[in-house]
């Protein structure tokens, strides 16, 4: 970086706000967001997404029961209390309605 640019950045009081913003934007673009930053960022992101997902698939693989309908606790919930899926209590407690948000006032 040239000395002059450095002085501009330090000495911002002597620049108009607009010009200062323009210099600032160029500065940021040059320093922080080099060409390829987005691809680089996405690659890093996908790495940790994959690692975390792998953890969940591992949890699935080691589970004693792997299908929801055979969860003994779920069976107990329905037989002790909830009745059956889509039944009366389910409608009251486990389902909802949606809102047209273009029509709120």
């Amino acid at each position: 970086m040239t000395k002059k640019t450095h002085l501009f950045a330090e000495d911002s009081f002597f620049l108009s706000r607009r010009k200062f913003m323009a210099v600032g934007a160029a500065f940021v673009a040059a320093m922080a967001i080099p060409v390829g930053w987005f691809a680089n960022k996405l690659a890093r992101r996908n790495d940790y997404i994959k690692a975390r997902s792998a953890g969940l698939y591992q949890d699935d693989a080691i589970a004693k029961v792997r299908v929801s309908h055979r969860n003994p606790a779920i069976e107990k919930y329905y037989s002790d209390f909830g009745g059956e899926p889509l039944g009366h209590i389910s409608h009251e407690l486990l389902h909802t309605h949606f809102v047209d948000r273009t029509k709120l006032s």
Partner: protein, 411 residues
């Protein structure tokens, strides 16, 4: 133009840009599913509240740490944990168990369910695994799907709309409510696992815990910032309604009292001087800690679909799926598809169920919605998650190689 896109009582402006820290680099705009972020390059940006889904994707991807959340329940949670008169129930989302370890020096993606149960038990929580509620969601949402499918095949008049969309992701639900309200009949009416968990904890749970519902304080631990807004939706007080109808007189309370993100849960444990990494595993204290493999994969893209199909297969054919792993809906492709052909016993015929899985919603959902609106969609069942990768990459998760740290990493 309407005055607001929020119902009374809902948290507004959860995600905000700190103008004094924003460099105007535009990075956040690339991650926002709704173009809610405005401002010229180089100038401080701001968020248009009515368009924002509170998904937090901009926040975890801002290289300058300029974006913040405005609502934290941490202080309230600490007070409730200290109150001997209150039963504090911690509802733990699937994706939390593979990320919170990162805040305690464990490896990325390390599965820490037992340790997390242990640490939360030490902190004073009852353990209510949201995976139990995910299993419950599959029972309800899967049954609903089968109901719609059969009614459609039989040509019944009030058959529910197909394709059916999943409804677990509050950012997606809010997006549809705000941008494509005509497609709302396609959304499954099943509540999200978070909301089912809160409701069950304060109804059936009150019996299991032998505790008055109004003394139960439910805290959801979520990988997601939008879940805070979801919990604040005024219609989510079903437990109070139910208990009221059954003779209770307590003042109105929500199903989920507070939401902590994964980051905030880590913060809480650190404040309480509990080191998750060295905490011995704990099994949980009730049936609400029992969950299946299907419930846990809800936390990643494709998981809800895979879990739903496992159960739909059993209900439709009366046999378990031969191979439970459904590879076509796994992985990071933006839109994934699968066909499942099976013999439907009730209909006495073969049916092919076509499903699609969408994540990274902002980049992938529009063409699909246009097809559904035009009546040309080839699918029967569509899973939609706002965040790329699903909840494992939610806006409430530990910030990994993003935030300010990734500037230093670019070389």
């Amino acid at each position: 133009m309407t005055a607001t896109t929020y119902q009374a009582g809902e948290i507004q402006g959860l995600i905000e840009i700190d103008a004094s820290k924003c460099k105007g680099c535009d990075a956040c705009k690339k991650f926002c599913p709704t173009q809610a972020i405005v401002g010229a390059s180089g100038a401080a940006h701001s968020i248009v509240k009515d368009r924002c889904l509170s998904c937090g994707q901009c926040m975890i991807n801002c290289p300058f740490g300029a974006i913040k959340e405005t609502h934290s329940a941490l202080d309230r949670v600490i007070r409730k944990l200290a109150d001997k008169d209150t039963t504090v129930v911690g509802i733990i989302a699937p994706a939390v168990r593979v990320a919170i370890g990162e805040e305690f020096g464990l490896g990325t993606g390390e599965l820490v369910t037992g340790k997390l149960y242990g640490a939360m038990n030490k902190a004073g929580f009852k353990i209510f695994d949201c995976n139990f509620a995910a299993d419950l969601t599959i029972m309800e949402e899967g049954s609903e799907f089968i109901h719609r499918l059969h009614a459609t095949v039989k040509g019944e008049e009030h058959a529910g709309a197909l394709p059916q969309f999943t409804s677990c992701c509050p950012a997606w639900v809010r997006y549809l409510e705000g941008n494509f309200p005509s497609l709302l009949p396609h959304l499954s009416t099943a509540k999200s696992p978070q909301q089912m968990a809160g409701t069950v904890a304060k109804t059936y749970g009150a019996k299991v815990y032998d505790m008055e519902p109004e003394k139960i304080f439910t805290i959801a631990v979520m990988p997601c910032t939008a879940k805070k807004v979801e919990a604040s939706r005024p219609e989510f007080n079903s437990a109070w309604h139910y208990n009221h109808e059954h003779g209770a007189h307590a003042a109105e309370y929500p199903d989920v009292d507070a939401v902590l993100t994964t980051r905030e849960m880590a913060q809480l444990l650190k404040l309480l001087k509990i080191d998750l990494a060295t905490t011995p595993a704990y099994d949980g204290d009730s049936l609400f800690a029992q969950y299946t493999g299907a419930g846990t994969i809800f936390g990643t893209t494709g998981g809800v679909m895979e879990a739903a199909l496992r159960t739909a297969h059993k209900v439709l054919t009366d046999t378990e799926m031969a191979k439970l792993d459904l590879e076509p809906v796994r992985g990071l492709e933006g839109v994934k598809e699968a066909d499942v052909t099976l013999f439907d016993k009730q209909l006495g015929q073969e049916v092919t169920v076509k499903v699609a899985v969408v994540h990274d919603m902002g980049n992938n959902i529009e063409p699909i919605l246009r097809d559904v609106a035009a009546g040309t969609s080839p699918y029967h069942f569509i899973e939609v998650m706002n965040c790329a990768g699903g909840c494992v990459n939610g806006g409430g998760q530990p910030v990994q190689g993003t935030g300010s740290s990734w500037i230093g990493n670019i070389g």
